[in-house]
Symmetry: C2
Subunit: 189 residues, 2 copies
């Protein structure tokens, strides 16, 4: 998606170690118009997978997933990293290592909003190692629901996430793919 490539080239920062800083338009400050355009593009790419729910992980997945869900006219569920007091005692919980935090985080979904028979489209900001998305996959499977697609704003293809998810045999769509971040570069596929 050219608008996202252009924005990454303009405002993204390669911090080294494979870390792409997109805090000025995705992860801390958000550009709603760009996110809406990305949501529209996700909706176009996943128009025919028959999703009944969009699933993401707090925090930075919320903006793109919400906009995708808006264009698909579906509810969106975000997995929580801490269990709020409004959540029932029995929940789906898994643990995923966080690339940018350097620690393992819990991902928690209430069975109230993820039921057997649902067709789940997972949307997140990054597809890197795939660890967070694999956590969302486990939650979906624990609920007896079916994963019908995976979408990410930005894929870092050199971190192997797509291969880690390939066993699912479902469509994986990234709006931009970065193949190399060595030597301070940001090189797109």
């Amino acid at each position: 998606m050219q608008a996202l490539v252009d924005r990454i080239l303009k405002d993204g920062k390669n911090l080294g170690g494979g870390i792409l800083k997109v805090d000025s338009f995705i992860n801390h400050q958000v550009d709603p118009e760009l996110m809406d355009a990305c949501g529209k593009e996700f909706a176009r790419r996943f128009a025919r997978v028959g999703a009944t729910r969009v699933l993401t992980a707090e925090i930075s997945g919320i903006a793109p997933a919400l906009m995708a869900a808006r264009h698909l006219r579906l509810p969106v569920v975000y997995a929580r990293k801490t269990k709020p007091i409004t959540m029932p005692d029995a929940v789906y919980l898994t643990v995923a290592p966080s690339h940018t935090k350097g620690v393992a985080v819990e991902l928690i979904v209430s069975p109230e909003y993820l039921s057997p028979g649902e067709r789940v489209l997972i949307i997140d900001d990054f597809l890197a190692s795939g660890a967070t998305i694999l956590g969302l996959v486990r939650l979906t499977q624990a609920a007896g629901a079916q994963i019908v697609g995976i979408g990410a704003l930005i894929e870092k293809s050199f971190e192997g996430g797509r291969q880690a998810l390939s066993y699912l045999k479902i469509p994986i769509e990234s709006l931009v793919v970065i193949k190399n971040m060595g030597n301070g570069k940001i090189e797109f596929e």
Copy 2:
């Protein structure tokens, strides 16, 4: 806002102790169409305050703030509760007690996205005691920026947040106001 009143009456749950569960359409599962309508209503009410940025706190403020920002055509910044590695060392940080978590949480904003001279519209999901919003006010003031309005989806007027914020002498707009949650009721003003 009648659509939000109706939805709270239909799907909201009074868990006692002043806790309103809105996990099926705001806080865990999100209804994008309803959030978009709320964002549009915020934009209408704050059309003339001259905001240059929308500010909220992760996590549950993101959806309404993003939609308000979309309709106002402004960037939105969400204060982080943990400092990601992409953030610079020097940040604005304050501590706010969390009603639903029962502990104090940090609210952190990078100076990159909150500058002197900005006119800040604060949007959050709840206006209860006002503690989180007062935290966002302190961050804004620390940055030398000006607060021009405060909006919340749901105000619980019996918790005194509006009084706590009244010294700011700026418009405070809640899309619905709940005046009483005693005896399992949800009573609107």
